[in-house]
Amino acid sequence: MKKIIVLIMLLIATWGNSQTKQDSINTYKKRVLEDIEIYFLTSYYTQDGDNAAVTGGIGTEELTDLATNIVISIPLNDDDVLTIDATASSYTSASSSNLDPFTRTEGADGKVILIGSPWVESSGDSRQDIWFNGNVGYSHASDDRNKIWSANVNFAAEYDYTSIGFGGGYSWLFNKKNTEFGIKGNVFLDTWNPQSPIELESFSDDQDLNNGFFRGVDILDQNGEVIDKNGTNIWNPVSTTLVDDKNRNTFSVSFSFSQILSKNAQISFFLDLVQQNGWLSSPLQRVYFADRNNYYIGNPSSIPIYTTPQNIDVFQLADDIERLPNSRFKIPIGMRFNYYINEMFVLRTYYRFYTDDWGVTAHTLDLEIPVKITDKLTLYAAYRYYTQTKADYFAPYEVNLSSQDFYTSDFDLSDFNSNKYSIGISYTDIFTKMHIWKFYMKNADLRYSHYDRSTGLTSDIISIGFKSIFK
């Protein structure tokens, strides 16, 4: 107890000493933002892998995405800034196309022929989609610029998901603006427009294998024999109830602390506390159980090679969709340390520890070195390492058991590590000599990154960005 009292007295004395050296309020108040700033970013992303979650942990993960983001920062007066942030992302995914993997034709005898495969992209509606996101933020700084409060509203939408969010934050700078504390709160009230695998959605309607999607379609057993749909050896999913709660809500509070350590070094710490409630599973994602018989639609001779890319014409009917708890609590803790080595080199570092109550623990380490080769050109080289343990409910294709309460074969929740390598170049013109009409270009960025995961997923992304001011 005595030790704690002494430490607190030492703290008060030290903190008081730092406060006596604060600047007096300046008579001149610099604007928070001088001119309207516009940042335009576009990127092309492509990925591939062999563990698609939509097809139960096997199958093509091929996906391409073209995304564009624009951020406009508008000074309303000396103290206030309005920020508009909008993103549109158009993706084409072989994996999500396999919500309905079947191509339907008619045989010479008039019989319906369906073929599909987890390794082949389907031409269904779910193959392609656009995700929109819009965020409007407002910030106000005090006259001495030591206190900043902010608020924002957010909206996002895609074909199976809608999100409405809002939040606010407060930052306090002191010690001659060498130290900053920040706190932010965010709420996302999201809603699924659930899309489920075609066979499960059809069966949940009337549980009749002679009707709807299954009318006139042969279903095969593991040996490739056509089953009697009125018999006892039939395909029967674990549950006929798909999504019974469309809400998915996220509540988070974030703390940040930044400190200038010297003329060349500064450090920051971040702590988030995130609570998610509602339907946290993805209704699109199939699960296959080890303790259930397997049933297929398509070419029986491809059943023995089902789990290989050589299978192009048979598809296994799912046992259920992914089921996960309706609650998740996450704690990420991060740290950034930046050091100005000299006029040419800066060292940027980032480390994050993450844990949640689904059993996932993760570490992230990011190293980046900007190299100023001229006063206008900077090269960037970066490396990122990531590792995570698997969620308690994850198991690969045909390993989960139907007796479990929760199960997934989504490899994003598996144990893996990943590496990302990035290079980039940035052109900066602080005098903004280049302009089109009233748009004066301040800088242009180009960056390429390659990402590979120990599960076999690889991706590449190239991004181009432009920052200009509007005078």
Partner: protein, 69 residues
């Protein structure tokens, strides 16, 4: 509990380590010294949020707004 108190006190003591004056912050104010992700890596962060379980603690989004993990 004691460890948390000592950490808070240590963090608070950091605040009085140094007071770099505004005219001495030329290097600190370099755009590459910003204590956040660089703007052109925004979509890389999006991809990571989708493909990895961990998110947050980078000053940006920590969850919600998408049907991702």
């Amino acid at each position: 509990m004691k460890r948390i108190i000592y950490l808070l006190i240590a963090a608070s003591l950091l605040t009085s380590c140094v007071a770099v004056k505004e005219y001495e912050k030329i290097n600190i104010n370099d755009p590459d010294m910003v204590l956040s992700s660089l703007k052109f890596s925004k979509f890389e962060t999006y991809a990571q949020v989708y493909r990895e379980s961990a998110s947050g603690a980078n000053g940006g989004k920590s969850g919600g707004g998408c049907g991702c993990n």
